[in-house]
Symmetry: C3
Subunit: 261 residues, 3 copies
């Protein structure tokens, strides 16, 4: 099902699509670097003064609620409205949904605005689906992707979107078709913002692939392969963070072989 991954990435690298990110302070540097290393052209633009102009010229939009505030929500909603109007695909990362009432409400509001893809960890997808989670615990997941698979399918059907759960096994589903990926490395959860990076890479693929299920799977596959290769040599999570950027840059027809389960 992922046999077009490499040619799609090669096309991205030729086009270097502009990816508009409204994301959190913690990961901005990393996700910008990950997008550059993969082959896209990132920009971080959040203010209501200009998000409409910017979303209109972008190939895709990434909305990530990690370090949320009311002002930024206004920018997100304006950018999403423009993206929807201009048929620019967008991906939602509901970081920490379930941890506070504000966050849960905003994530639900955005999820109803028509994202092409929603990407979260298992706890976040469970919380967004309203399913019985084991309760919030910051931004790290305490549930496994498998726990959330059923909820992900229901959520995908209810919202008419693709839901991607990242974890030791990544599960990507539109409610009908499901892809499972098993690359990555055990140390990746010790690097902050790996999920946010996954979401950003999905955004880059949305700019060049019209099927959002494939775009989501491509993004997670690229990060999984890069993470697996990086993890083999990394001395710790600090080394891993930068080695993943090197490996994203080094993805090639030869090594971009995701493990599909």
């Amino acid at each position: 099902m992922l046999d077009k991954l490499w040619p799609t990435l090669a096309r991205m690298r030729e086009q270097r699509p502009l990816v508009h990110n409204i994301t959190n302070y913690v990961v901005m540097n990393n996700t910008a670097n990950a997008l550059l290393a993969l082959g896209a052209s990132p920009a971080m633009v959040h203010a209501t003064d200009e998000v409409e102009d910017f979303a209109a010229i972008s190939g895709a939009l990434v909305v990530n609620i990690g370090t949320l505030s009311s002002e930024w929500v206004s920018g997100m909603k304006l950018a999403v409205a423009t993206a929807n109007d201009k048929r620019v695909p967008w991906v939602l990362d509901p970081v920490g949904v379930g941890a506070t009432r504000f966050r849960t409400r905003i994530a639900a509001d955005l999820a109803k605005m028509g994202p092409a893809v929603v990407r979260g960890n298992a706890s976040e997808i469970l919380a967004l689906a309203g399913a019985a989670s084991e309760g919030p615990k910051g931004v790290d997941s305490i549930a496994s992707a498998e726990d959330a698979e059923g909820s992900a399918k229901s959520l995908a059907r209810a919202l008419g979107t693709v839901v991607a759960i990242s974890g030791a096994t990544d599960i990507i589903t539109d409610g009908e078709r499901t892809v499972k990926l098993t690359d990555g490395h055990a140390m990746m959860p010790l690097v902050t913002g790996m999920g946010c990076t996954a979401t950003a890479l999905i955004g880059a693929f949305l700019a060049v692939e019209t099927d959002p299920l494939l775009a989501a799977a491509y993004g997670l596959a690229a990060l999984g392969v890069a993470g697996k290769r990086a993890g083999e040599a990394a001395a710790g999570p600090g080394s891993l963070q930068l080695a993943i950027l090197d490996q994203l840059h080094g993805l090639s027809e030869d090594n971009l072989k995701p493990s599909v389960s």
Copy 2:
């Protein structure tokens, strides 16, 4: 006095306590990664819309005034009030206190709200203590920890808190008991946010150790040992920054032996 450092870290790694950070833009990525590498679960949540909900579910709170603005001060004060109410311990990092009137006023306001620990460099502690500093110079210290030891003790007694000064020698005091640590590496001041990282690690230890003097000493000891080990091989401050993350992750019963003077 630090003989429980290793078992305390081992307990932290089992519990992975949620550490709520309201910190500055410059260091968010590094301190999140440092907390993950040490063994805690970090989250950066700053908005008045949700800090109360979040502080209430956290094991500790870190308040750092590095890139201050009025809006963020509101979030800090709300979070602190909740933390105090729910008996969540918190640590204050008065970055750059003394450099501007606004910053000095806010740091003094927060210091009076009951932090378990205040961590700064010598210039900051002198400024906060109202002692005669050599005058503000950005966020880098121009005084040595020894210069500030007396002021730190007075401040600790006046506020009923623990004061930790980081520097070539770290000095941690509650006004009665004092611990001095001499690990670390001469290149650490050339990495931005090392002090902020120290404060964050103290926050993680506050979540698992009820004596704030020990929690502060444990945090500085962990960073000092990791920094010393990282510095031995680092080619420069760029390499050092990530090697410290690797070394924090690699702290073990065998190598976690702080130098107490």
Copy 3:
């Protein structure tokens, strides 16, 4: 023309001038680290509550519009007014000018306020000069420095400032004198914020060199030499980002030999 580069850097390292940055969220950590590695003392201070106090005690001011919003513009303008009043030199980085109407207007407003240096990529300088650009494309340049040389000279004369274009060839001009530099590495555009780092380093040199043409050339020369040396060994853009910090720290009388064309 650059024969005083090394003694100027040596003087900076003795003085460690305070460089006040109002810059974007994406690059704050990197530019703070680059300034520390070069030999300056960085601080990131943006709020209207304190920028006047802070600009007044700084050796130079860096204004970068990467992640712009109205609130931050207010801080930038207050800081610039203070800098002008206190004769603190400042450098403007008009990130992404041309991409949105808001951004173009703010960049033009700031450019008229008397920066010592304006540093951008070729597309940005073309947009700021009002010349016919090939149109905005995020924050990455699609024009070469040579394309923009004429516009840069006109802009420098019109504003009475130095204009620095970074690219494969860096071009620095005050409208009369022009310096061209050809160091750097082909992978540098794949690291986010390299342009912002160049601007920050120019700020550091403005604090110790009164001729802004030389300060701008020194900043670009230091980054170009560090980037070239770092690129020789880097496995990818992740490694390159940190190796540049190591190399900035390692600049010495022996290796700081820029290639002037």
